[in-house]
């Protein structure tokens, strides 16, 4: 019983971090198919890792609004809310 309690305690300590990052983890996973598992980009597809948060958020919003021309990103950015864009921008800016 003590062991169970101890394990549970650890699970509870670990839980909040996982819960907070869960949504952005799954959203960021929709980017990595093209931008790469480490978000480094590939062959003309730009890297996202460590880019400035404001830059990323502004570009995604511009893609969404159609004010920045693109091939596929105009179509894709329209699939994310402004909050999700903010979350993704923070996520990729913090990737090291």
């Amino acid at each position: 019983m003590r062991i169970c309690g101890f394990s549970l305690l650890i699970a509870l300590i670990a839980a909040p971090a996982f819960a907070q990052s869960a949504d952005v983890t799954i959203l960021a996973a929709t980017c990595s198919g093209c931008h790469g598992a480490s978000a480094d980009g590939s062959g003309g597809i730009p890297g996202l890792r460590g880019q400035q948060q404001a830059y990323l958020a502004n570009q995604l919003k511009a893609f969404k609004a159609g004010s920045r021309p693109a091939t596929v990103m105009n179509r894709l950015a329209k699939g994310y809310t402004d909050d999700e864009i903010a979350g993704l921008a923070l996520h990729f800016s913090r990737l090291r």
Binding site: S7, L8, I26, G36, V72, L76, Y80
Partner: protein, 424 residues
């Protein structure tokens, strides 16, 4: 969640916490076990995401082939643009990342005992299971088209030896020969695939055998990215390609291997120099045999987690699923694999899976420096799977050469990224 799997998981969490300076107390208990069946886009991606999300998990990937040949980009091999080695990948890096790769095929899933029986006889117990089995061909759905016929009239719809059979036949076809493709009705793996293939073959014939013709006999009335493909064909390969929809007697119902003849619904005979028969398909055998497929031959899923609607504790991803409006594409399978992996980890912790978000971008090469795409962003709930309104869609028809060229570059970039995410 059973108390056993909960104990396993928590014990695993305690073990992992040792790296943060806390004592590891694991009284003979093992970490939770997830088995993944199928090492393609859905399965390989799922295995990697399981390990990434929860390093203490015991992840076993069941895959009979030592090397995986991707269906995406296999049309470029058929067209002579690429060599097959450049689209073939091994599982060494997955093994190095701590995933157990079982080089065997899954013979049966014993749901009641929560274990997978391998063809070689080994049993793999699991706490959760992810099945990404791909497709099987419906042999004899087209009369005369069985496994043996596929040697003479390749389908090349599972990449590998079949890809090379078709390539060799095209190489030995005389100039002025007729290439005939039989394209299937929906749903089938890779909706734009037949038309990308025709484009790649046209590029080869235009260069090497310019008097040759291409005839597409189609079992449907329209196809993916149709105006974009047809614009490209008119521009790049004028007069070479004829497409016959089902309404104009395009559906092939019978083939004769000996004479390389394809027969339509209303009895028209088409004699080919090279014939590529892409037959109707269904979820692969292991999914059908283990109660994961419904009467349609495909697997219904809960789109919030890609858990089977028919068997609890088992997730199904990729081409085998009923996941419309998502297409049966490698990209979609990979995206679904990520959702299933993260949902599995959450469910092993007794939590609700994170909200499911998926994406797909299907690029098709149609000629040199000329590619087109269709993209979609999706959300899944227990009730339904939807494409986010006003998002996605195809490349615009009126685009200039520069945008087409950029899409060909991004297509190559996508292929490098997604295969690296799986195998790199």
């Amino acid at each position: 969640m059973t108390s056993l799997s909960r104990r396993r998981f928590l014990a695993g969490a305690a073990g992992a916490s040792a790296t943060f300076g806390m004592p590891a107390i694991v009284y003979g208990q093992a970490a939770a076990r997830v088995v993944v069946i199928g090492g393609g886009f859905g399965g390989a991606t799922a295995a990697r995401y399981l390990k990434k999300a929860s390093p203490q998990l015991q992840v076993t990937l069941v895959e009979p082939n030592r090397r995986f040949v991707t269906c995406p980009y296999s049309n470029l091999v058929i067209g002579g643009w690429r060599k097959i080695d450049s689209i073939s990948f091994g599982y060494d890096r997955l093994a190095k990342s701590g995933i157990t790769v079982a080089q065997d095929s899954a013979a049966a899933i014993e749901h009641d005992r929560k274990r997978v029986r391998l063809a070689g006889g080994r049993m793999l117990p699991y706490d959760r299971l992810i099945v990404s089995p791909g497709i099987d061909i419906r042999w004899n759905a087209i009369a005369g088209y069985d496994e043996k016929a596929a040697q003479a009239m390749p389908h090349a719809w599972r990449a590998g030896e079949q890809t090379l059979v078709l390539r060799r036949q095209l190489e030995s076809m005389p100039d002025g020969g007729l290439f005939v493709m039989a394209a299937p009705a929906n749903p089938f793996r890779c909706p734009p695939g037949p038309y990308e293939r025709v484009s790649m073959i046209a590029s080869y014939l235009k260069q090497s055998k310019p008097r040759s013709k291409i005839l597409i006999l189609d079992a449907k009335e329209n196809f993916s990215k149709q105006p974009l493909f047809q614009d490209a064909w008119a521009k790049l390969y004028p007069g070479m390609i004829e497409w016959v929809p089902v309404g104009k007697d395009g559906k092939v119902v019978k083939v004769d291997v000996r004479t390389k003849t394809l027969e339509s619904e209303f009895g028209q005979q088409h004699k080919a120099a090279v014939a590529n028969v892409i037959p109707p398909q269904m979820a692969a055998k292991i999914a059908r045999d283990s109660g994961l497929a419904d009467q349609s031959g495909w697997c219904p899923i809960d789109a919030s987690s890609f858990e089977s609607r028919l068997v609890k504790g088992v997730h199904v991803v990729g081409d085998a699923t009923i996941a419309a409006p998502m297409p049966k594409s490698g990209f979609a399978a990979s995206s679904q694999g990520k959702v299933a992996a993260l949902a599995s980890v959450a469910m092993l912790q007794g939590k609700t899976p994170p909200a499911a978000a998926m994406v797909n971008t299907c690029y098709s090469h149609v000629g040199k420096d000329y590619a087109i795409s269709v993209a979609g962003v999706y959300r899944g709930t227990t009730e339904r799977l939807i494409e986010v309104p006003d998002s996605g869609g195809t490349s615009p028809r009126q685009w200039d050469d520069e945008n087409r060229r950029l899409e060909s570059i991004y297509a190559d970039g996508w292929y490098a990224s997604i295969t690296s995410e799986m195998f790199g």
